[in-house]
């Protein structure tokens, strides 16, 4: 029955950030972010460079742990559990919360092994047929299957940039995650590939929670249910620190922003 209860609270939000301050060494990168991210929806993070969008995104699956000087104050609750509690296994967190990066980064392996790697490292013990099925389903969900089904043995690098990025999405969904984080997934792609990725996101939205960082405001309006606008403000010591300026339904952020900074940003008056 506790599953039931978990599911109930998940219906409201999948992530809850409470007063998050993020530091790199003594440098404070982001201050006092509190927000709730809803499940089975697309949430976009927008804002100018250096405002901490990607930093926040990487906190959501503890990828920032790989950076030595990183430190987080505050809580990030995922289904009600604090991800930064000392007894949380970051490896398990990252399996449930997948990631797609800015530049397509397939492994230097075959297309098949790019997908199969995730299940294998997570202890997949099934037959060859079952793995074939995982690979096929993952590639189908990433709408790449028809383009690569005859060359699964080719290197992942043999694909075009847009195909590589869809391969990376297929790789992320192959481990059956709950959430897919995307860090500017289209910034290295041409407009046609970008549209394909966006269509793909809309389909993935049926089964996954998606959080996307984007510099492209049209992209946010096209795909996102909710949008968070991050901004920077000067600190007392002359540095800059990122903060969450406004978080609301996408149409509110772009049509009826409450904050002056948001209005300036979405109308292109300030970067």
């Amino acid at each position: 029955m506790s599953d039931q209860a978990n599911h109930q609270s998940a219906a409201d939000n999948i992530f809850r950030l409470e007063n998050c301050d993020i530091y790199y060494g003594s440098y404070k990168a982001v201050k006092n972010v509190s927000m709730q991210i809803p499940p089975k929806q697309i949430t976009a993070f927008i804002g100018s460079s250096g405002c901490g969008k990607s930093t926040i995104l990487r906190c959501l699956n503890r990828l920032n742990d790989l950076i030595e000087v990183f430190r987080l104050d505050g809580k990030i609750l995922y289904h009600g559990q604090n991800l930064y509690d000392s007894d949380i296994d970051p490896v398990e967190v990252r399996r449930r919360i997948g990631m797609v990066f800015q530049r397509p980064n397939p492994f230097p392996k075959t297309i098949y092994d790019n997908i199969a790697y995730g299940p294998r490292v997570n202890g997949f013990r099934g037959s060859k047929d079952e793995m074939d099925e995982i690979v096929e389903n993952s590639l189908k969900r990433a709408v790449l299957w028809d383009e690569v089904k005859d060359k699964l043995g080719d290197s992942g690098f043999s694909l075009s940039g847009g195909q590589q990025q869809r391969l990376c999405i297929a790789r992320a969904v192959a481990v059956e995650p709950d959430v897919v984080l995307m860090d500017e997934p289209c910034s290295a792609l041409d407009p046609i590939s970008t549209l394909k990725i966006e269509e793909l996101m809309m389909e993935l939205r049926e089964n996954y929670t998606i959080v996307i960082v984007t510099h492209n405001m049209q992209q946010a309006t096209r795909v996102a249910d909710k949008t968070a606008f991050f901004h920077v403000e000067p600190t007392d010591t002359g540095g800059k620190v990122g903060y969450l300026a406004e978080f609301n339904e996408t149409k509110e952020i772009f049509g009826n922003p409450q904050e002056e900074t948001t209005r300036n940003y979405v109308t292109g008056r300030a970067g």
Binding site: G98, N105, N122
Partner: protein, 298 residues
């Protein structure tokens, strides 16, 4: 006109875009290019002379039995360097078997797990120092460690350990560099699908670095195969076929050293033939390294 030329289009009809080879900077250009080319040719001369000399002197001693027979006793004709060739292969194989696992694992620690701590910087520094240590020091070290103490005595094993000491710095450095070239992106991608640090290193990072690592190992082997000093008082020499890893063993480089200074003609010819085979071995391994490097993934 040697002064500044305006780039207005009115000049295009005249000298505007044409070459003016008499300008000082053009002459300077020509002189410097010629000078650099000349230096390049001069540095290649010794290389080709050495190879040509060894080939000319060694080719005469090439015979059907060269690679399969034992050297003749002093005063007799014929024979070959079969035992030394086999011995070199055995000793280098021992050295490779020791240095590759240790070297690669050490480099994995430096590159993937040390996180830039002070210890790693000191290890890197001393690795570089070790690579500059004269090879005879490695021989003396192993002589004191294994030969004098009687742990192995004069033995193929002692020779292999001495060569391993020489190979380690090359292998550590090239592997360290090879791992550092692998983009951070794919480590993050691997960790991002729920792999542990070691799964990432063993299944993603190391395989991607394999061509560069093989290049480093091959270069280390090529260097070790030609070393004489560390073998003289560790592996010693033998007139006979290798009899075991804990017995003295013949090697090509020591054979060249021993036979070149004796007064017997057949031995001197074998020394030249040995030199030729040694040069060919080093050349082949180096070329192999080059070919493998072309398969780099990053």
């Amino acid at each position: 006109m040697t002064t500044y030329t305006s780039s207005s289009t009115s000049n295009l009809g005249g000298q505007g875009l044409r070459k003016k080879s008499s300008r000082p900077r053009d002459i300077f250009n020509l002189v410097m290019t010629s000078l650099a080319s000349l230096c390049m040719v001069i540095t290649l001369v010794p290389l080709f002379l050495v190879i040509a000399f060894v080939v000319v002197q060694g080719i005469g001693a090439i015979s059907p039995g060269l690679l399969t027979q034992l050297p003749p006793p002093p005063g007799l004709e014929g024979g070959g360097i079969g035992n030394a060739l086999l011995g070199t292969i055995i000793v280098v194989a021992i050295a490779t078997a020791i240095s590759v696992p240790f070297g690669v694992m050490a480099a994995v620690y430096l590159s993937e797990f040390s996180k830039g701590n002070a210890l790693a910087e000191w290890v890197r520094f001393f690795t570089n120092v070790l690579s500059g240590v004269p090879s005879i020091i490695a021989g003396v070290f192993v002589y004191a460690l294994l030969v004098v103490t009687g742990i192995t005595g004069y033995a193929a094993m002692a020779g292999g350990v001495a060569l391993a000491v020489l190979m380690l710095p090359t292998i550590i450095r090239t592997t360290d560099e090879a791992l550092n070239i692998i983009p951070q992106d794919i480590r993050w991608a691997s960790v991002g699908v729920g792999a542990s640090r070691y799964q990432t290193v063993l299944q993603i990072v190391l395989p991607a670095a394999v061509p560069s690592i093989i290049t480093g190992v091959t270069l280390a082997i090529a260097r070790a195969a030609g070393e004489t000093a560390p073998l003289i008082f560790t592996a010693l020499f033998s007139q006979f076929w290798p009899s075991g890893l804990f017995d003295p063993i013949a090697t090509l480089s020591v054979l060249v050293y021993n036979f070149a200074i004796v007064p017997f003609k057949p031995q001197q010819e074998l020394a030249w033939a040995g030199s030729l085979i040694l040069v060919l071995l080093v050349l082949i391994t180096s070329i192999t390294a080059r070919v493998v490097t072309h398969q780099k993934k990053f």
